[in-house]
């Protein structure tokens, strides 16, 4: 059974690199990550040997770049009809969903790893706490996975990649800011306090911020893994419901 996941994973990952999409994505990701860090984040002016300015911008970078990776996951399969081919092979729905998701996640992981010159730079200039940096990378990768799982589900809803992209950005934005007044004010007027607190607790930024500081709290890890699991489950349900049309 894991063999099927691996086969789906390998095909999907290879498909990113078969077209210029992968290279365009990686170059843009690295350029933007660098620009944010050095210009907006005042990396040098701060005079501190850490990667806070680098990691602080990741949520905003992911907000637009991860949906661009996720949008094709299922909508392309539906548009080209290959979903019919894939799902009539001896593979279960969850193997297909997980295999494709892991491939896209690994692809983002590759882009993330390629930011290593920033890490080298900071180690060259000073002596940062590499444990914190590792934790930040882990948190960043988990958050990317959460964004991507949302993208997987929304991509399953439509065969139009542009619609998938825009809707994913919107939903990711809401999750990102769930703990902030922009979203909470909408609910606090009428919803019970318990619900408002629950929504605030869903915020990506809150959970990311604590990992980002180097505190790997099991609850934050579980939070992101649960978000991923939930949206992947929703993907499978949506695919099953919508595959007829």
């Amino acid at each position: 059974m894991s063999r099927s996941i691996v086969t789906v994973f390998k095909r999907e990952l290879a498909s990113y690199f078969a077209t210029p999409v992968a290279y365009v994505f990686i170059v843009i990701f690295l350029l933007l990550a660098g620009a944010f860090t050095f210009y907006l984040g005042n990396f040098f002016e701060r005079g501190q040997a850490d990667l806070q300015p680098f990691f602080n911008f990741h949520p905003w970078l992911y907000l637009f770049l991860v949906p661009a990776v996720g949008m094709r996951l299922w909508s392309e399969e539906r548009k080209s009809g290959t979903i019919e081919l894939l799902l009539t092979l001896p593979v279960t729905m969850w193997q297909a969903v997980v295999g494709k998701f892991l491939a896209a996640w690994a692809f983002i992981g590759v882009a993330l790893i390629l930011t290593f010159p920033v890490w080298i730079t900071v180690n060259y200039l000073g002596s940062p706490d590499n444990g914190v940096i590792f934790a930040s990378y882990l948190g960043s990768f988990l958050m990317a996975g959460a964004f991507l799982a949302i993208g997987s589900c929304i991509s399953a809803c439509t065969r139009n990649q542009v619609i998938a992209f825009i809707l994913t950005v919107v939903v990711c934005f809401l999750f990102l800011l769930a703990g902030f007044p922009l979203v909470l004010n909408f609910f606090s007027a009428w919803a019970p306090q318990g619900l408002v607190d629950a929504i605030a607790g869903l915020s990506f930024l809150t959970h990311y911020a604590s990992i980002d500081k180097g505190v790997i709290d099991l609850r934050d890890l579980i939070y992101f893994l649960l978000i991923i699991a939930f949206w992947l489950y929703a993907s499978a349900v949506v695919i099953d419901l919508k595959k007829a049309d």
């Binding site: 789906v8 095909r11 290879a14 498909s15 009809g81 019919e84 799902l87 009539t88 001896p90 593979v91």
Partner: protein
Amino acid sequence: MIETRQLTKRYGDLTAVDNISFKVETGQVLGFLGPNGAGKSTTMKMIAGFLAPSSGSASVCGFDVGAQALEAKRVVGYLPEGAPSYGEMTPRQFLGFIADMRGLTGARRTQRIDDVIERLHLNGVLEQPIETLSKGFKRRVGLAQAIVHDPAVLILDEPTDGLDPNQKHEVRSLINAMAKDKTIVVSTHILEEVHAVCTRAIIIAQGKVLADATPAELEARSRYHQAVSLTTPNVAAAKEAMSRVADVAAVEIDPQDHRLTAFPKPGKQIFGAISDLLKAQGIPVSELQLESGRMDEVFRTITQGESAEVRV
């Protein structure tokens, strides 16, 4: 072996497939005929395990496609409508992917892939992305993936669509060559194909089975079955003479090529009588033919007769 029991698919108020039951044995090639939107593809999608039936069930080789989905999918080879494939992959990569998904390994994997490449003449295009290939090659890649694991059951949705006459002929030969030890279902619009590959034909329209018979039996339902047609320079005299034959029900002249056709009364043979009469009267005939029946006419009568009833 394929068996469907009261297989039904509803989309809201629309019943795409309505209570279809049939059984296909090993060695049979079943042709699925019907107008566009008749429910052919939907039926095949349910047998292939892509869509779940609204009610009823289907099984392949004894595995229920719902309850034993994986076992059923393993024994089925399926060419979906339009022969979809991953455009950025080359045929070699694509067939490798399908073979891996089908659990083929080692020497058997290599041997099976080489075999389908050979059978479908894909050698020249193995390293080109599939999206750059012609429609005919795309279709053949789709067929290759359907048979790469040498399945016991083969479901082909319009396998010859988009192929030129030579390629059609090759695909039909391929199906015939595999027919002996497999159960094959083929959907098609092309009526001559029924003759060329099928041992049995099911005509469906509006989701219902309207006819289930061998191609010869279907043709026997044609008005043209056992009719005699001929071309002659002396049309008027020939028509006059043929009308006088006792078992002839009617004589018609084709307005375009002035070909005469004599229709027999039910169950009667008229070829001998007409042939003798024309000879006796000295009417010159350039061609004389006994018709076996016209599939397109049967198809029209069956499918449109039904829709006319429904409209009332």
